[in-house]
């Protein structure tokens, strides 16, 4: 072995093994993530109907079309509304579940599992159950049956726009699915808080309940809370499954409760195969997500050393 080969291979052939293990992953990442991503940026500058090798350069035409499209802007609004509600709601619900389960003296493992179980259910299956049995619009749907006992008329939950009952369906399915998972994160955080802190607080005269939670528990959960918030926002950005499965039908998707991914899927990447316009929308969305994540990370000091 020449000195040069030896240097390339590194001590104990570490370089070789590094590429043996990382190589396939790096190639996969490049081929299936970065190439399509860059290709999509490329497409966004072309009039690409039904082709991935477009020839008609349109500059920023697709971007101006997308940003001037009321439906796309509306979908961003829908997304903001959804995030503004689902993130705090899930946060509060999973934290309270964690606090309650944490205080249990018996059957803690049982309740932990029970609340966690929905996480194992797929969004598609849950959406279908919500749509077809819990919140269907006819008299034998669960929600309508219960309301029927009080003499209320049947409600078409997913088809009524005033009041917008469809939000109730969309939000509850996601709450049910994801609250358990974040509860586990919070539980892990709660169990890491040193009991001495609570003892010291008690010595100093802090009343159990709100005061202890406000000054001991919640600040100690800071790292967990930041992680949960970030995950929740990212999940909200990715919202597609439950919207699509609850509201779409063979002929399309209603103009309400239509988040950006659903809009792009239908309007730009649908039968039209307007890949240029769709790519422009995707790039705009990616930029928004990037900016939001950076701002959020700065705001919460993600990655900063804990004090």
């Amino acid at each position: 072995m020449s000195a040069r080969t030896a240097r390339l291979l590194g001590p104990h052939r570490r370089n070789l093994w590094f590429w043996v293990f990382v190589g396939p992953f790096a190639v996969g990442l490049g081929l299936f993530t970065y190439v399509p991503l860059l290709w999509s940026v490329y497409l966004s500058f072309f009039n690409a109907h039904n082709t991935v090798n477009p020839t008609e350069f349109v500059g920023l035409g697709n971007y101006t079309a997308m940003l001037g499209d009321d439906a796309f802007l509306g979908s961003l609004g829908t997304f903001l509304l959804f995030t503004a509600f689902i993130v705090p709601a899930t946060f509060a619900l999973s934290l309270s579940l964690a606090l309650m389960v944490n205080r249990l003296r018996f059957a803690q493992a049982f309740f932990r599992s029970v609340f966690f179980l929905p996480t194992a259910c797929s969004y598609v299956v849950a959406s279908l159950i919500w749509k077809l049995s819990l919140f269907n619009g006819v008299r034998f749907g669960l929600a309508n049956t219960v309301l029927g006992w009080f003499g209320t008329d049947q409600t078409a939950w997913l088809s009524t726009t005033s009041p917008p009952w469809y939000w109730l369906v969309i939000v509850t399915v996601r709450l049910w699915l994801q609250a358990g998972f974040y509860m586990i994160l919070f539980l892990a955080g709660l169990q890491r808080i040193s009991p001495q802190l609570y003892e010291a607080a008690a010595m100093d005269g802090a009343r159990p309940g709100w005061q202890v939670f406000r000054h001991i528990t919640f600040p100690q959960l800071r790292a967990t809370s930041v992680a949960v918030l970030l995950l929740l926002v990212i999940n909200a950005f990715q919202a597609f499954d439950e919207f699509y499965n609850l509201l779409s039908d063979a002929r399309g998707y209603p103009p309400y409760a239509r988040p950006p991914l659903v809009y792009l899927y239908y309007t730009a990447l649908g039968r039209d195969q307007n890949l240029g316009l769709g790519s422009a929308g995707a790039v705009i969305l990616a930029l928004i997500i990037a900016v939001a994540t950076v701002v959020q990370a700065r705001w919460f000091g993600l990655g900063r050393k804990e004090d």
């Binding site: 619009g137 008329d153 409600t155 088809s159 005033s162 039908d249 399309g252 209603p254 103009p255 039209d272």
Partner: protein, 418 residues
């Protein structure tokens, strides 16, 4: 040689294996790359009716000049074909809910004019029209589907309601038929937005795109008829949120609704469940210039523009969808319930000669309209969004339609530029 050929075919998937094995037993034994005829791939979307899949494979196996493998594709067929047509590995012959204007313009489908021309007049002209662009024919209609208003005779009689002959009568009838347990009319869970499409406009004597290529609903009658659909929603006469959608007769058969808009394909199931207790109507006319109307459409058989064996693919398409009228008849009527696209065949079909089925054929022939080729997906999306806002949110039909008209004009400009 034969063994290797079979194995390779088996490895390529069950559907291909069956067709492969069948032809391997026949006279063409030299498979595996050096066969006597070219290999063609034919795609179908998944038909719900049992037996259709076996039938199309049987047709393909009966063709001797090429080795045709059928792919039966469940799921979102339109998107699957759209993606496959971007590559060389897509189908050679495929059925398509179109072809769309963009597909024709970008050369994704081959010109089939010479195949169809000799029998052009024998096709249902309404469904053939959207397959034509610049006097060339781009797809061969396979079988005609249509939609109808089904009504329950007994329920209408009990409520003292006549089968509605105008949109106003439809609104009144639906209201009278609505009780605590039964709704008057089912137009789909979205309140009719998806399924109605341009139907109310045609019923008001208008159109989506006129023959000279302009938006066809720039008229006060359009807003008037759509406001009446809104009235159905306001009256709470519409069934919404049923477990199945308009395409399935379950809601009608189970008595959740007294009238339902559904496809011709639902007729055998309804007849089986309700016997004589139902009738069919076209979508009723609206206003003085109106006429009753039903939408018609046909999946077309098209040849991929990227096929490596265009000539062989065309020959096969002609053999199956022009020459073999026995197969066309079998395809339309032996499994599901469709009207053959060829008028001569539709006239011969016994199942279509009496009762509601005969009415349906008459509506499709006399009152049928098909979505024009120039009505693009972008137009349809804009129109459906507007329709949803008009029906559900009570948005002003005139303002909403004006926005759609702007979109339609822009799209017409775009497609004519090419």
């Amino acid at each position: 040689m034969t063994v290797i050929g079979r194995r390779r075919l088996l490895a390529a998937g069950g559907g291909i294996a069956l067709a492969g094995a069948l032809t391997a037993c026949g006279s063409n034994t030299g498979r595996g790359g050096s066969g006597s005829g070219p290999a063609l791939a034919q795609w179908y979307h998944q038909y719900g009716e049992p037996g259709t899949q076996q039938a199309v494979k049987r047709y393909a196996a009966a063709y001797k000049k090429a080795h045709v493998t059928v792919q039966w594709r469940p799921g979102d067929y339109d998107r699957q074909t759209a993606a496959a047509l971007l590559t060389d590995s897509g189908p050679d012959v495929f059925e398509v809910n179109g072809p769309l204007l963009d597909q024709i313009q970008s050369g994704q489908v081959a010109d089939l004019t010479d195949l169809v021309a000799p029998v052009k007049d024998d096709f249902n002209q309404a469904v053939l029209a959207p397959k034509i662009w610049q006097d060339k024919i781009w797809g061969i209609p396979q079988a005609v589907d249509t939609q109808l208003l089904y009504y329950r005779k007994s329920l209408l009689k009990d409520a003292g309601v006549q089968p509605p002959q105008s949109v106003d009568a439809l609104v009144d009838a639906a209201k009278k038929l609505t009780t605590g347990k039964v709704k008057g009319l089912f137009l789909g869970n979205d309140g009719g937005v998806g399924v109605l499409g341009g139907t109310p406009l045609f019923a008001a004597g208008l159109s989506l795109i006129t023959e000279d290529g302009k938006a066809g609903f720039d008229d006060p009658a359009a807003a008037r008829v759509l406001a009446k659909i809104r009235q159905l929603y306001v009256d709470k006469s519409l069934l919404l949120g049923a477990p199945t959608d308009w395409s399935d007769p379950a809601a009608f058969v189970q008595g959740l609704t007294a009238m339902q808009w559904s496809g011709l394909w639902a007729l055998p199931q309804i007849a089986k469940a309700l016997g004589d207790d139902f009738g069919v109507l076209p979508f009723p006319k609206d206003g003085a210039g109106g006429k009753p109307t039903v939408p018609v459409g046909a999946y077309a058989s098209a040849v991929s523009g990227r096929s490596k064996q265009t000539a062989a693919a065309k020959e096969f398409a002609k053999w199956l969808w022009i020459d073999r009228t026995d197969f066309q008849q079998d395809f339309a009527l032996s499994y599901g319930f469709h009207i053959p696209a060829r008028i001569s065949l539709a006239k011969k079909a016994e199942r279509l000669q009496q009762g509601p089925a005969a009415d349906a054929v008459r509506f499709a022939t006399e009152h049928g309209y098909a979505e024009p080729l120039l009505w693009t997906s972008a137009d349809r999306n804009a129109y459906q969004d507007a329709l949803s806002r008009i029906i559900k949110d009570g948005a002003n039909p005139e303002t909403e339609l004006r926005a759609v008209l702007r979109k339609v004009d822009a799209e017409l400009q775009r497609v004519k530029k090419k």
